[in-house]
Amino acid sequence: MSGMDAGRPPGATAPWDTGPPDVDLGRVWTGVAAQVWRRDPGRVERLAGRLLRSAGLARALVATPSLLLAWIIATVVVLFTGAVATVATGTPYVALLAPAVAAAGIAYAYGPGIDPAWELSQSLAVSDRMVLLVRALAVFGLNAALGLAASAMSGAAAALTFGWLVPMTTACALALAVATVTRSAIVGVAAGVAGWVITVLSGAAASGQLTTAVTSAALILPYLAFAACCGAVVLYATRIPRGTS
């Protein structure tokens, strides 16, 4: 386990063994290994590190798609929710609730049931809520980029991209920016949600749909049931697993 010989190339130890006695060969070897194994962050990661003021968050941002199963589940939830929200344009409450469903889906995808290192992430200095926020941005942002490419070929893809993915990427970016400045993920999410609500309601008011959606008595029960489902998903996604011994 001391392992100092394990990573050395064959034959590389011989010159060091005959080196001057005041040279700390272990330290030298660690320096060499650090140079050989170091990963150079790409441009996006470097830029994100500066903007987010955290190399850890930047790494979490760019590493998000590599957690493949979680990425697929999050993407499916986001696209499905977006499709519903884009089709049901006559009912503003769908657009208002859609981000909660998407957020719950992303939280679940990167939550304790699926993220293999979730428990460890709960013990780290970088807030797990901030990590979740950058993951949401990564999911929306990459899907929006793919959507933009697909929009050239399909009208349906354009509707989904410009009616859902691009606006939600913007809302996530706003939330992350505010969270970074205020150092509070909760404040950031509140800002993102506020931005989204203002956008949806102003659009609905302009087209005369707002009053119908808010005052219809027939919709109260569906509203409550939907809110309860979202709450249950969030509680499940953020639950603390029971100790095993």
Partner: protein
């Protein structure tokens, strides 16, 4: 004292996982022994700031983890190896350790050397650039240990760290523990008494959520002498004798 716990409890519904534990630990290697379901993992998870206590007082590295600022500072100086640590299969061993080093808010300039040192410490140098999906269970466990020690923690919490390691690796790991215990508080939860005997300066034995013994490994051995308790080794006999005494005392009460 890096760990200062007074009357700590944790409930899960009707189950009392930890029932009024008090414990102090400074530098050294502290073994947490006990049968399955004794509450070791729950206690360790509270010390790792993953699980909030139901009641009691918990201070880590001189700070109260109940508040955000102190908790963040504790977490920067903490190393934690969960019992069931999952791995990101697409990461290399070096990337895995680096990922957690960055999320522990280590200065980015120090990270490459710290990653290399941690990987060398656990003897994974020849697998540093191998994808985790290609590594054996023991190698994965060593990668987990490497991420726990990468920030040179002042408080290191290891839950069943030797699970999956072969005998040679376990011997080397105990030496690593003794080395780390020179300057940090290392708390090792295990049910392998030989690990405790070889590496720990102090040991606590838990049963039914309570600490039923706290002392040195030699004192635990002494508890088993002449009792006829079951066990192949002196420490095992001490372990069995203490557990039997605690359970009979609980039955009488």
């Amino acid at each position: 004292m890096n760990v200062d716990i007074t009357d700590l409890t944790r409930r899960f519904g009707r189950t009392q996982a930890v029932a009024g534990v008090s414990l102090q630990a400074g530098a050294g290697v502290f073994g947490l022994l006990g049968p399955n379901g004794a509450g070791k993992t729950s206690l360790l998870r509270m010390m790792a700031t993953v699980l909030p206590p139901t009641s009691g007082r918990l201070r880590l590295l001189g700070r109260d983890p109940g508040s955000y600022g102190p908790r963040r500072e504790i977490r920067r100086r903490l190393g934690y190896l969960p019992q069931n640590l999952g791995y990101y299969p697409g990461f290399t061993a070096a990337e895995f350790v680096e990922y957690f080093a960055l999320l522990k808010e280590m200065p980015p300039g120090q990270v490459p050397r710290a990653v290399a040192a941690a990987i060398e410490h656990v003897g994974l140098g020849d697998k540093a650039r191998a994808k985790l999906r290609t590594l054996s269970g023991g190698m994965l466990r060593r990668a987990g240990i490497a991420q726990a020690i990468v920030n040179q923690p002042e408080l290191l919490l290891l839950d069943e760290p030797t699970a999956g390691l072969d005998p040679e690796q376990r011997v080397a790991f105990r030496a690593l523990l003794r080395d780390l215990g020179q300057r940090a508080t290392v708390i090792v939860s295990t049910h392998l008494v030989e690990d405790v005997g070889a590496a720990c300066t102090e040991v606590a034995l838990m049963d039914a959520g309570k600490i039923v013994f706290h002392g040195t490994p030699d004192e635990l051995i002494a508890r088993g002498e002449g009792t006829g308790a079951a066990g192949d080794a002196p420490l095992e006999r001490g372990y069995s004798a203490v557990l039997a005494a605690a359970r009979s005392a609980a039955a009488v009460a």
